[in-house]
């Protein structure tokens, strides 16, 4: 079980001939993900990791109509065109690994994706993993089997490094993960915490969820609405980083691009609002696992 990725996910990699794309292809295949082909304009006919490269998504889909997910590994200035190609091809899941895509380009892609009911994870996402099934991107890196094992805890993080670090804390406590998703640290987030919580709610493997959140932006507040509407009812613990940032003036960016100091959006203010609807608040990120552990295994 888990979310977003199954045994039937066939992954395309856009930008697979690039350095990062090729590394990701290798990492994904080694973990058992079905990477079926790649796309790089003008490099059609080549192979990476024994998988064929096509000039366009259209060509790739003609040959591999079963593709139902794509990972984007292109430079930021080429990202919009690559993403729109994937949306045009009706690929239902697009994981954007690219960092530093201009907001305007991202907003354009998100509007186009919404119309076609395409899910975008990211941008600036490291990827996602369903332990034992597969991974998109290089979540876990070469230590993936030391950090991930199939289990009951869902992981959502605004930070790529912390996706892995939190997952490690879970493993260290003798537990496993149902899925771990890095939503990315940008101003506009394709799939939000609340979107993922709704998916984790339906996932039988998931017994609880931990989140690494950050100061700035409004996405943590969407969680409150999902809980009030009972769209998410499982135990949830959250850590919100960036309490120190309140020494900086409003409007200043401290951390990821979306972490902008703002009145009403500080770490402490988010914690307060979330705790009022019963979300467990971790004072240190290391405490997240203990909080959900107590909830799941107390009885």
């Amino acid at each position: 079980m888990g979310i977003l990725l199954t045994e039937n996910t066939n992954v395309l990699i856009q930008g697979m001939t690039g350095k990062e794309g090729a590394k990701a292809a290798k990492a994904m295949l080694e973990y058992g993900t079905k990477v079926v082909c790649g796309v790089t304009p003008n490099k059609g006919g080549q192979e990476v990791e024994g998988k064929p490269i096509f000039n366009s998504v259209k060509e790739a889909l003609k040959k591999f109509p079963a593709v139902n997910a794509t990972a984007i590994y292109v430079p930021p200035f080429a990202a919009k065109a690559a993403i729109l190609e994937a949306i045009d091809g009706d690929i239902p899941l697009i994981n954007i690994i690219v960092e530093r895509i201009p907001i305007k380009d991202m907003a354009y892609c998100l509007a186009a994706a919404k119309e076609k009911n395409v899910r975008i994870i990211g941008p600036s996402s490291l990827g996602l993993i369903v332990p034992g099934i597969g991974r998109i991107g290089v979540v876990g890196g070469p230590l993936v089997n030391e950090i991930f094992q199939p289990g009951e805890i869902g992981v959502i993080s605004r930070s790529g490094g912390m996706t892995n670090e939190l997952s490690w804390q879970i493993r260290r406590a003798g537990l496993g993960q149902s899925a771990a998703v890095h939503v990315g640290g940008d101003l506009l987030m394709g799939t939000t915490y609340a979107d993922l919580l709704r998916l984790f709610e339906k996932d039988e493997a998931t017994k609880a969820v931990v989140i690494f959140g950050e100061h700035g932006g409004s996405y943590e507040f969407e969680i409150i609405e999902a809980i009030i509407k009972k769209e998410f009812t499982k135990p949830l613990a959250i850590y919100i980083g960036g309490k120190f940032a309140n020494v900086f003036p409003e409007g200043m960016n401290v951390g990821h691009a979306g972490a902008i100091v703002a009145k009403g959006q500080g770490a402490a203010e988010k914690e307060k609002a979330l705790s009022e609807v019963g979300v467990m608040i971790a004072e240190r990120y290391e405490d997240l696992v203990q909080l959900v552990h107590n909830q799941i295994y107390a009885h």
Binding site: P102, L110, S159, L188, M189, G251, V254, A257
Partner: protein, 380 residues
């Protein structure tokens, strides 16, 4: 990047908005000469800072002669407005105001599209305006034509789209007694990730939102990520702070969590710094060298999570290069894991032994926050 009011107004003027007649006076420039050249008797002198609410914080002074101008300009340059450094002052014609409105375009993170906000209750903080008095118009980034008849809405939309702004706010948008619409203020933020399509952004002065000019170290760090490979592993974030613990963090998320942990351990950061992605040895070396060059340091905390794809050996090579050069005498605590962690640990510990450094290294068995406590213990 946030723009000063005068820069924002120059941008708006390009799109056909009328802005008040004015002149910018930087520190050390002759304000009286500028005033006399402006040729308007009644002016408003406005402190140029990167956030709003100047009016409430005495950042705006009305003047009618040279003496008053001199006094006002001197006064404003001696101030910090809400903790911010006054980079310049703007002398502007005083408008004969009939009414004040508010208009802005920002990204709405719920719809993930731009949204236009407009209210007839201009001149006050938008947070203080009753919800029902604010007109909210959802926009679609793909539609270049805007069918909204509010004053200057079309011009603003064109500016928003063309200039890659994150936010445009005019408050107040003034209708003068003469019936003309004038942008009496401008708050604009540019999306720095779009820099490659805006050659002219290079001409903006360096800035910080803190109550001082950017330090030499801050300016030097900014240069590290410049160039063609700017998106391939970054090492260009550095904010100087008042404390004495040097910081070398990796990853945007771990960095903010660790800052909180450091403060919890009653230590004071000398800087906020992160490198992210998989930066090459040279970038990390350049960053580490600048971080360690700050005078008065008492400790160094090098910390990051269990990395996914950052090459620990490569990045630690860069840090070791800087440590070998500077040879700090204060304690160093390291916490890091991930690809090539063994090699990374070996080379940084060897560097410490070779140079007689006091260093404690921790891998993933010890959590990041716990190592902040270790550093605090060493400094007792």
């Amino acid at each position: 990047m946030n723009l000063y009011e005068f820069e924002g107004k120059q941008l708006l003027a390009k799109y056909g908005l009328r802005i008040p007649k004015g002149v910018v006076v930087r520190r050390g420039e002759d304000a009286i000469f500028a005033y006399e050249n402006l040729g308007v008797a009644d002016v408003v002198v406005k402190a140029q800072v990167l956030s709003g609410k100047r009016g409430k914080n005495n950042g705006i002074i009305f003047c009618s002669n040279s003496e008053e101008i001199k006094k006002a300009v001197d006064e404003l340059f001696q101030k910090n407005i809400r903790g911010q450094y006054v980079a310049a002052v703007l002398l502007e014609e005083k408008l004969a105001i009939e009414e004040e409105r508010y208009i802005s375009i920002v990204y709405d993170t719920t719809t993930k599209q731009p949204i236009l906000l407009y209210t007839e209750a201009g001149g006050m903080d938008i947070e203080d305006v009753a919800h029902e008095k604010i007109k909210k118009i959802a926009l679609d980034i793909r539609q270049e034509n805007l069918l909204v008849s509010l004053p200057y809405a079309r011009e603003l939309w064109k500016c928003f789209l063309t200039e890659d702004t994150r936010q445009i706010e005019i408050n107040p948008l003034v209708r003068t007694v003469g019936g003309e619409w004038v942008a009496a203020d401008a708050k604009i933020a540019l999306d720095e990730d779009a820099f490659y399509r805006h050659e002219d952004w290079k001409n903006f002065d360096a800035r910080t939102m803190l109550g001082r000019l950017p330090t030499e170290r801050e300016l030097a760090v900014k240069k590290i990520d410049e160039g063609e490979g700017y998106y391939r592993g970054t090492a260009g974030k550095y904010i100087e702070m008042d404390g004495d613990i040097a910081i070398l963090f990796s990853g945007g998320g771990a960095s903010i969590a660790n800052m909180d942990a450091l403060i919890k351990a009653s230590l004071k950061p000398a800087n906020y710094t992160e490198y992210s992605g998989n930066p090459p040895r040279e970038k990390v070396y350049a960053l580490a060298k600048i971080v360690l060059s700050k005078p008065g340091l008492r400790g160094l905390w090098i910390a990051g999570g269990v990395a996914n794809f950052t090459n620990i050996a490569e990045t630690f090579h860069g840090i070791a290069d800087a440590l070998a050069e500077i040879k700090p005498t204060y304690p160093i605590v390291v916490r890091r894991a991930g690809p090539f962690e063994d090699e990374g640990r070996r080379l940084i510990e060897e560097c410490a032994a070779r140079n007689g450094l006091t260093m404690q290294f921790f891998g993933k068995e010890t959590s990041m926050s716990d190592t902040a406590q270790v550093l605090a213990g060493l400094l007792k």
